[in-house]
């Protein structure tokens, strides 16, 4: 069984370091925003900024933009955006810790199968988190207080890209933290790619 043989192949030492290095990338995640939302309007030329970290929400302009965004949102009856609402901010740091431990485990046991496990689990985790984030955007935009001064039809703030909402141009893009997560995935995929090539070479020899 070729696949089983590949999965139980012992990683090269270079691959072990690569997996460890990928784990270090995860350690950096708390320092960079995962997602960034910026709103521009004529009277906000410098923009109102909101940075979403793995564990916190940070408004631009020394934190003041979060209050600013919430004050504007209350006119359309959107509930206050606050860190407590983001259940992701509790489980993401926890899960990142698990992946760092898995990375250590992989570096020690060093089987290709361990890397495959990590990659599959991580992709699931990332898609799940993105999904809940999109749902959160959807609920902020749809669960509007019917007694709000300004009544607007339910909407979903952009999860990715640009959208015009009333007088605001809203931009939503992944931040450096998400790029690090992407790099983590790419590192694991690269390990698998090179391990596959090594496996084929050995099989051919």
């Amino acid at each position: 069984m070729k696949l089983a043989a590949w999965l139980s192949q012992v990683l090269s030492s270079r691959a072990r370091f690569a997996v460890l290095g990928a784990g270090v990338l995860l350690l950096l995640i708390p320092f960079f925003p995962l997602w960034q939302i910026t709103m521009f309007a004529n009277q906000f030329p410098e923009g109102l900024r909101l940075s979403i970290y793995a564990h916190q929400l940070v408004g631009g302009n020394g934190g003041n933009d979060l209050q600013g965004i919430n004050i504007l949102n209350h006119y359309i009856g959107m509930r206050e955006i606050q860190a407590a609402d983001f259940v992701e901010m509790k489980f993401i740091p926890f899960v990142l810790g698990i992946f760092i431990l898995l990375g250590l485990r992989t570096a020690v046991f060093a089987r290709v199968g361990n890397v495959v496990d990590m990659l599959v689990l991580f992709c699931y985790f990332a898609l799940f988190s993105l999904g809940t984030f999109a749902y959160r955007m959807y609920s902020y935009g749809h669960q509007l207080n019917p007694e709000a001064p300004i009544r607007v039809p339910g909407f979903t703030p952009p999860v990715f890209g640009h959208q015009r909402i009333a007088n605001f141009d809203v931009y939503s893009y992944p931040g450096v933290g998400s790029l690090l997560l992407g790099l983590f995935v790419v590192s694991l995929a690269a390990v698998l790619f090179f391990e596959m090539r090594r496996f084929r070479k050995q099989a051919a020899a």
Binding site: N61, G62, N64, Q67, I71, Y75, P149
Partner: protein, 631 residues
């Protein structure tokens, strides 16, 4: 846009004008107008290069404009209530005003370090009620009003700060018998009335002012001052008029002598003498007698009815302007020191030595008629305002080798009757030059007609190069006296009050913390304001209750101000973002009174309102209750 139109109109007018207009050849005028427009045009969204702090005269306020555009940017209320910013209505500013509703701001002085502006504070005087105020340039607000200063009356020669802002030096214009409150008939003016020079100590960390010492002088009318620099750093000069010690119609009686005095005072020696316990305490202040502190104070003759007295940037010369003389007098500070050392006197006034004029003056520069004030640039030129001639003279500050008339290099007429003038950093150790603003006492219809009460005019003049070019003209409310023109990059004001810095125990940051507390006869409320509501929006009290309201603006976004206006109770405060203000009053009038946000904030600003309900005292009929309210 408006400026664009104005320029277009100007160009059009020039193009259509007959070839020989009142201004001379129309072609050169066109070129000048285009160049002047380019020099002063600051595009929408772009910033001016300089702050201009105008004194507001008897309006009691300070005006801030940008230069070169000359646009008025803000009014800083100082000595008079100003509903636009809620100044004079809350308990803190009310206490600072001390019951006065006006003042007379003449001479703003920026704080200095090593003789140059450091952008920390602006000190201004009140000529009327003997006060000095400090504006903090971190938030452009008045933070202290000191006074009425004991013994001093008519705080005109003020406020002038020393080289490192150790002192603001102030002097009395109107001599009175001291302490204030003492009676003496004017027939005893020469002996019983006193002039007073005061040293106002400034705390180097906080800017807090206190009266440190005073010098009692003969009853001359102390006029204007200038502080020394470098070699003269320990000295201050004041000009004076009425050395005749005359009363009555001063325009005649005080203009009899050919020369009055300028005084040189060693403020460091005065401070030391006061510290040694010399002099005596009058009205709580240590007052020095110059006779008892030899070397502290000298008089030097100055022609005639002196006004301005200004140290040159290097501190080597003093330029004195006599209102009724056709020249300015230049004194050499080193020669002054030598004459003082050699006791080269021609007499004394109440024991104060009068030094020999000829030993100290090095030039009489024939600048023109009615010289008042002198400012300086970075190219070695001096600029003197000529009130009578209605012009400004530009002249070279030396060499003083006897060819005095050769020093005058240019003159420009101004419209009309210039008082003070200001150049960029023009009284500092290192002037910047470039611009001069002529603050004219009369505008005489050069503006759109606004009826008999006419504004003053301020003219912006380019002083680069050897000559002077008129660039622009603006109008200000009454009435700029002196001003300060400072590079914009030296100031770093905040845009909101950071929440973390608000130490007011009654500040609240959430609607849920809003609270009304009732004690017998007192209702106290913490009010929360944010776009676009107040919490609470109903406040009910009993007629006769003392009401204390603490209103916090919980915003942290720039320019998001909220006002709290209470109709019928003569109250309006404005809270900047992050600021808490307290108002206290008695609910004398029963009934229902709306309160609302007075400073436009948002789309729902109009809805930002509430009710102040006053229940009538039991047994009071509506008619009787409202009659009481009127009393």
């Amino acid at each position: 846009m408006k400026r664009h139109l104005a320029i277009a109109a100007l160009l059009l007018a020039a193009a259509c004008a007959p070839s020989k207009g009142p201004q001379g050849g129309s072609n050169s005028r066109l070129a000048d107008a285009r160049e002047a427009a380019q020099r002063t045009f600051v595009e929408p969204g772009k910033l001016d290069e300089f702050y201009l702090f105008y004194s507001g005269g008897h309006s009691g306020q300070v005006y801030v404009a940008g230069v070169p555009s000359m646009r008025h940017i803000a009014t800083i209320p100082v000595f008079a209530p100003y509903p636009a910013t809620g100044y004079g209505f809350d308990t803190e500013s009310k206490a600072m005003l001390g019951g006065y509703t006006w003042g007379d701001v003449h001479h703003p002085a920026l704080s200095k370090t090593k003789g140059d502006y450091d952008g920390r504070w602006l000190f201004v005087n009140d000529n009327a009620n003997n006060r000095v105020a400090r504006i903090d340039l971190r938030d452009f607000k008045t933070h202290q009003i000191l006074g009425p200063i004991a013994n001093s009356s008519g705080n005109h020669g003020s406020a002038f700060v020393t080289e490192n802002t150790e002192y603001a030096l102030v002097a009395s214009r109107f001599s009175i018998p001291i302490p204030r409150g003492t009676y003496a008939p004017t027939s005893k003016y020469a002996t019983d009335y006193k002039g007073v020079l005061s040293g106002i100590k400034i705390d180097s960390a906080t800017g807090e002012m206190s009266v440190a010492w005073q010098i009692m002088t003969p009853p001359f009318d102390w006029d204007l001052a200038s502080t020394g620099k470098e070699v003269s750093r320990d000295w201050v000069v004041w000009s004076s008029y009425n050395s005749e010690r005359a009363i009555g119609r001063l325009e005649v009686t005080a203009a009899q002598r050919d020369r009055d005095y300028i005084t040189f005072v060693n403020w460091r020696m005065a401070a030391a003498a006061a510290a040694q316990g010399k002099g005596k305490i009058i009205a709580g202040v240590r007052v020095l007698n110059p006779k008892e502190v030899p070397g502290m104070m000298y008089l030097v003759p100055l022609a005639k009815s002196p006004h301005g007295a200004d140290f040159s940037p290097d501190g080597r010369y003093v330029v004195g302007g006599g209102k009724l003389a056709p020249y300015v007098t230049v004194y050499d500070f080193q020669k002054f020191l030598a004459a003082a050392e050699a006791n080269d006197t021609i007499g004394n006034e109440d024991g104060i030595p009068v030094l020999r004029y000829e030993s100290i003056r090095v030039a009489e520069v024939p600048v023109g008629l009615g010289p008042l004030h002198t400012q300086f640039d970075d190219q070695g030129y001096a600029y003197t305002s000529l009130f009578v001639e209605s012009a400004i003279a530009k002249w070279k500050l030396g060499p003083f080798d006897g060819h005095d008339s050769a020093l005058v290099v240019a003159k420009i007429p101004v419209n009309f009757s210039v008082g003070h003038l200001v150049t960029a950093h023009g009284d500092a150790r290192h002037p910047v030059g470039r611009y001069l603003i002529s603050m004219n006492k009369l505008s005489k219809g050069r503006h759109l007609n606004v009826g008999p009460s006419q504004p003053e005019s301020s003219q912006l003049i380019d002083i680069t190069g050897a000559g002077m070019t008129m660039l622009y003209e603006a109008y200000t409310e009454p009435e700029p006296h002196f001003a300060q023109l400072v590079r914009a990059d030296l100031l770093h004001p905040i845009e909101v009050y950071p929440k973390a810095e608000n130490k007011d125990p009654n500040a609240i940051w959430a609607a849920s913390d809003a609270k009304i507390t009732r004690r017998p006869g007192i209702v106290e409320a913490k009010i929360y304001s944010i776009r676009s509501y107040f919490a609470p929006n109903e406040i009910e009290v009993q007629q006769g209750d003392s009401v204390i309201l603490h209103v916090t603006n919980a915003e942290q976004e720039r320019d998001m101000l909220h006002g709290f206006g209470l109709a019928g109770y003569n109250i309006n405060v404005v809270m900047d973002p992050g600021e808490t203000k307290t108002i206290a009053f008695r609910a004398t009038k029963p009934g229902v009174y709306p309160f609302y946000c007075t400073n436009f904030c948002s789309a729902m600003h109009q809805e930002m309102q509430g009710y102040f309900l006053v229940k009538p005292r039991a047994g009071t009929s509506v008619a009787a209750a409202s009659a009481e309210g009127r009393n």
